[in-house]
Symmetry: C2
Subunit: 378 residues, 2 copies
């Protein structure tokens, strides 16, 4: 990926190449005001639905609705409560009820305006309403712009686990308006940055180095560098998804940091950590395990952990979670097959390797790390 | 399609060609006992779930479970109540709960053992559990063997309409054991036969003539002719689906008789008619409209209506349903776009043609038919 300079043009486009399911990701400032014309290029005017939450709705719904109305799309607004606990069957049923009441047809677009929770549940609703209607993502968090709005994973949670119900369903369009990041709480910005760091670690050493060097500018939300990070992240994820849309094999490298991250989220009831924070801990664990297995150099491990710590992200597994419950939690992940976890390690920045490990081996490695006082990755 | 003779071999295979989503339909007697070995050729041994209802379960679950166990598949049985009213979100949630409790993994097969209702809801559960697990159809009704188990339409109903929530999701395997048709109530056998007659009318004049000539043998459930009808129907539907999997265009010919059929089901609360019975009425209406528009000969119209009547199927729209409510009901179908209905007419046996009509035009044609005393198609 090209990282020469970081002065970003007004708007950029990344294509996700998936044959007849290909689509464009537009990245820039004030794209929200072009929502109507962009959708108008894909769908005939008519009814549409915008799915959002009260926080994002208060900030951006007016502009989105006005842009849609100007292009001939009468929007029904479907507001669901903010937060992961509402990404469930109850609120999915609420969305279906409103899509049906709004008389949407097979060609009527459904728009997700919000972060990952909104994108996941709205995407699943679009995938399954009338066996699939056009879906448009307008991600308003850094995490959603660099990760969840790209790649077609949609879904909802079940008391038994996160995203256990869902579908692969590609959007017809993604509009990533980096202007919306200005209102994002700092903690959520950092949680999104974790996925950008992940792309650097597993796929793009140059991106990783850029983050190391420009971290202060990123944390100060320089719009140019944010746009650059979103664009490069989308390019990297699009490349992975184009190669392996349904996660048969290669796409699983994106789970780097997520095996332990998901387990930590699960063990803390999705209350204590944001997803990105749990993944930061999982990434620190993954590089430590990679080094302990002789796969990567100590320096590589230390650089990854250092940048996470400098950003103010957590890197240690809370000691009270280290034990048999960790083994159970990692083995409960939906990607596990036959009890064997396909764990993503690194050999170097930009070079990954799958290791077959059991839940017990992960729990033991975590316990050794606590015992050796290196849980902080030091 | 070849209709020479009607003595069927022990088992036959129809391939549905959909690239990487291609699959086999096996048709024959006593295939239920091969369920384990057939699935074993596709999925590694492990946990599986069989979704069925009490009626079918009492008849065939023992054999299915024994066959699965012999091949190393430990089956969790998920039983849902019999009938269309239970094809809903509540029972879907029940299925998810049990799939999760049974610790199914991404490669664990989900088996539908039953008719169209079981196939639709189990297929949708398989499509959306862990974003898609292998799905195996074991249809036990004629309707499911010739129609709903082929083509990948899955879904559930909503108070606002039938199959409004669903997904296109192809099975990995279909096992159509025609031996299970021996226990089918006669009314359900006839309702399934309607779809076979439909294939003859829209795609295969030879098949239609065979049904005209052999109707008595069919109604007496001669196993050889039933197997022949299932095989030819699957071949015809597989050909249509291979050409247009997601119903962008051509596949819509399969909706012949269904526009009015769905409306009648809807207006009678899905209580009075079986799906096939409502479609029989819809087909009689469609040929009458085709003739009234000068598209097909009177003789063709009369032959179609005659074979339906000889089989004891209904062919007239109940007069109390003829009126503005019929216009509203046909326009409420999920396939309607912009208020215009893509209505399937015939020009001759085996030759279809789409006509753009409104709900009002359909209601008026139905009223004229009642007024002219030709509602019975005479």
């Amino acid at each position: 990926m090209a990282h020469q300079g970081s002065s970003a043009p007004a708007s950029e486009t990344v294509r996700v190449e998936l044959g007849e399911r290909s689509y464009a990701i537009r990245i820039g400032v004030a794209l929200l005001d072009q929502l109507g014309t962009e959708i108008g290029a894909l769908c005939p005017p008519g009814p549409t639905a915008v799915i959002t939450n009260p926080t994002v709705g208060a900030l951006y719904l007016g502009r989105a609705s006005a842009a849609l109305a100007a292009a001939g799309f009468g929007a029904t607004v479907i507001e669901i409560p903010d937060g992961e606990p509402h990404k469930n069957l109850t609120w999915l049923a609420f969305i279906y009820d409103h899509l049906i009441a709004a008389r949407l047809e097979r060609r009527s677009p459904v728009v997700a305006l919000g972060g990952g929770v909104i994108g996941d549940i709205a995407g699943f609703a679009a995938a399954t309403f009338l066996r699939g209607v056009p879906f448009v993502q307008v991600p308003t968090t850094l995490l959603a712009q660099v990760d969840s709005s790209v790649g077609g994973k949609t879904g909802i949670n079940h008391p038994g686990g996160k995203n256990l119900i869902g579908a692969f369903y590609q959007p017809r369009l993604v509009l990533a308006d980096v202007g919306t990041l200005a209102t994002l709480p700092q903690r959520e910005l950092l949680a999104g940055l974790v996925e950008v760091i992940k792309y650097g670690v597993i796929l793009d050493p140059e991106l990783f180095t850029l983050i190391e060097q420009q971290l202060d500018r990123i944390l100060a939300r320089d719009p140019d560098i944010l746009q650059h990070l979103v664009r490069v992240s989308c390019e990297l994820k699009a490349m992975v998804v184009a190669r392996d849309e349904r996660e048969a094999d290669f796409r699983a490298i994106l789970n780097f940091g997520h095996t332990v991250g998901h387990a930590i989220e699960n063990l803390t009831g999705y209350q204590r950590y944001l997803h990105g924070e749990a993944v930061a801990i999982g990434m620190a664990f993954a590089v430590t395990l990679s080094h302990a297995r002789g796969l990567c150099a100590r320096e590589t491990m230390e650089r990854v952990i250092a940048v996470l710590k400098r950003a103010g992200l957590p890197v240690q597994i809370p000691p009270e979670l280290v034990g048999p419950q960790l083994a159970t939690a990692v083995a409960g992940d939906k990607k596990v097959s036959g009890g064997i976890i396909k764990f993503v390690c690194i050999e170097d920045l930009g070079r990954t390797r799958f290791e077959s490990v059991t839940g017990e081996e992960i729990a033991e490695a975590a316990a050794r790390r606590v015992g050796a006082g290196t849980n902080e990755g030091g």
